[in-house]
């Protein structure tokens, strides 16, 4: 589904929704900007095939987590903006708790082994 040379594609796929939720929790955004933001924040290590972002966004819209509206870019072209809904905020918090738990378990295990 995703092309990622640095991070395994399964992990990239699993992190897609939490990443989008986290980005949208900071404010409204659109597809291209979401991709650029994720590339920048991961220093290019987390790379999606651009087109594949859209089925994920549409699935999240279907789940009632995000809503979309058409707006205009600075150049006057149509652009679709996404923002978080109340359910999306809850989903974001659930994802965050779960990922933090996984992170804490892994960090604990690695600390025991290497420190």
């Amino acid at each position: 589904m995703y092309s990622a040379s640095m991070i395994r594609k399964e992990l990239v796929a699993a992190s897609a929704e939490p990443l989008i939720l986290a980005l949208l929790s900071e404010g409204e955004s659109y597809g291209y900007a979401i991709l650029q933001e994720i590339k920048a924040r991961s220093q290019g290590q987390l790379q999606w095939t651009d087109g594949m972002l859209y089925p994920v966004l549409h699935r999240m819209e279907r789940k009632g987590w995000i809503k979309a509206r058409w707006g205009e870019s600075d150049t006057g072209r149509k652009r679709k903006y996404y923002s978080l809904k109340k359910n999306g905020q809850k989903a974001h918090e659930t994802h965050r708790d779960q990922w933090l738990k996984v992170h804490s378990v892994l960090a604990g295990l690695w600390k025991e082994k290497y420190v």
Binding site: S3, G31, T49, D50, G51, Y54, R59, S73, K78
Partner: protein, 214 residues
């Protein structure tokens, strides 16, 4: 000489031909492609190089088509189920009314009135979704549900008023009963469909592809 507009139009045409048919999805994908191309051109890349690189990053249409199909799969099954149920119900109504009208040996004018009632009721039941985009979207859920329920109840009330106050004035009622019966159902069909449409939120309309034009 490379023509960027032509290349983007051709790209869009190929995607539409490959199975990604919804114009809203194509608009969004095209908007992304153009953003990427513009961004690259701002940093001095030629239009052709920017277009080729954007295409490379965008991915293959077959994979994307499969992903979009997964997203819309549930809606398609539900939509097909609704079509099957509607077809069975419409067939049943047509068969029942046709059989009844035939048995009653109605005059040609009575037949026209009777079949018109069936035709209009079926038209409303099958075609109401096309009227949905012209109706206002009520933002408040409570008001939406209230307006919808008022409409549905109004249909039943109107039908009852017709049966109780207008029907008794008909002469030769036994012969006209089937046609009158179907006309009595007509306000229920109209107001029930109107009520259901008003109950739909913007998200519901998007889910059933009844979005107002952007």
């Amino acid at each position: 000489m490379f023509d960027l507009e032509h290349a983007v139009s051709e790209w869009r045409r190929q995607w539409a031909g490959s199975g990604v048919k919804a114009s809203e999805i194509l608009d969004e994908l095209e908007s992304h492609l153009r953003e990427d191309i513009q961004q690259q051109m701002r940093s001095g890349v030629s239009p052709q190089q920017a277009f080729d690189a954007a295409l490379q990053r965008f991915g293959r249409y077959q994979a994307l088509k499969t992903e979009f199909k997964k997203v819309s799969g549930d809606t398609e099954v539900l939509g097909m189920l609704m079509v099957v149920i509607c077809t069975i119900l419409a067939g049943f109504i047509v068969w029942m009314s046709g059989y009844t009208f035939l048995q009653m040996e109605l005059s040609p004018s009575e037949q026209i009135i009777a079949y018109a009632a069936v035709a209009f009721t079926l038209l409303v039941a099958c075609g109401w979704r096309y009227a949905v985009p012209f109706l206002p979207v009520i933002a408040s859920r409570g008001k939406r549900m209230g307006a919808g329920l008022i409409c549905i109840v109004s249909g039943v009330v109107l039908s009852n008023l017709f049966c109780n106050f207008i029907l008794p004035h008909f002469e030769n009622r036994d012969q006209q009963l089937p046609a009158i019966g179907f006309w009595a159902v007509f306000p229920i069909a109209v107001f029930a469909c109107l009520g259901l449409a008003l109950m739909m939120s913007a998200d519901d309309r998007a889910h059933w592809k009844m979005r107002r034009s952007q």
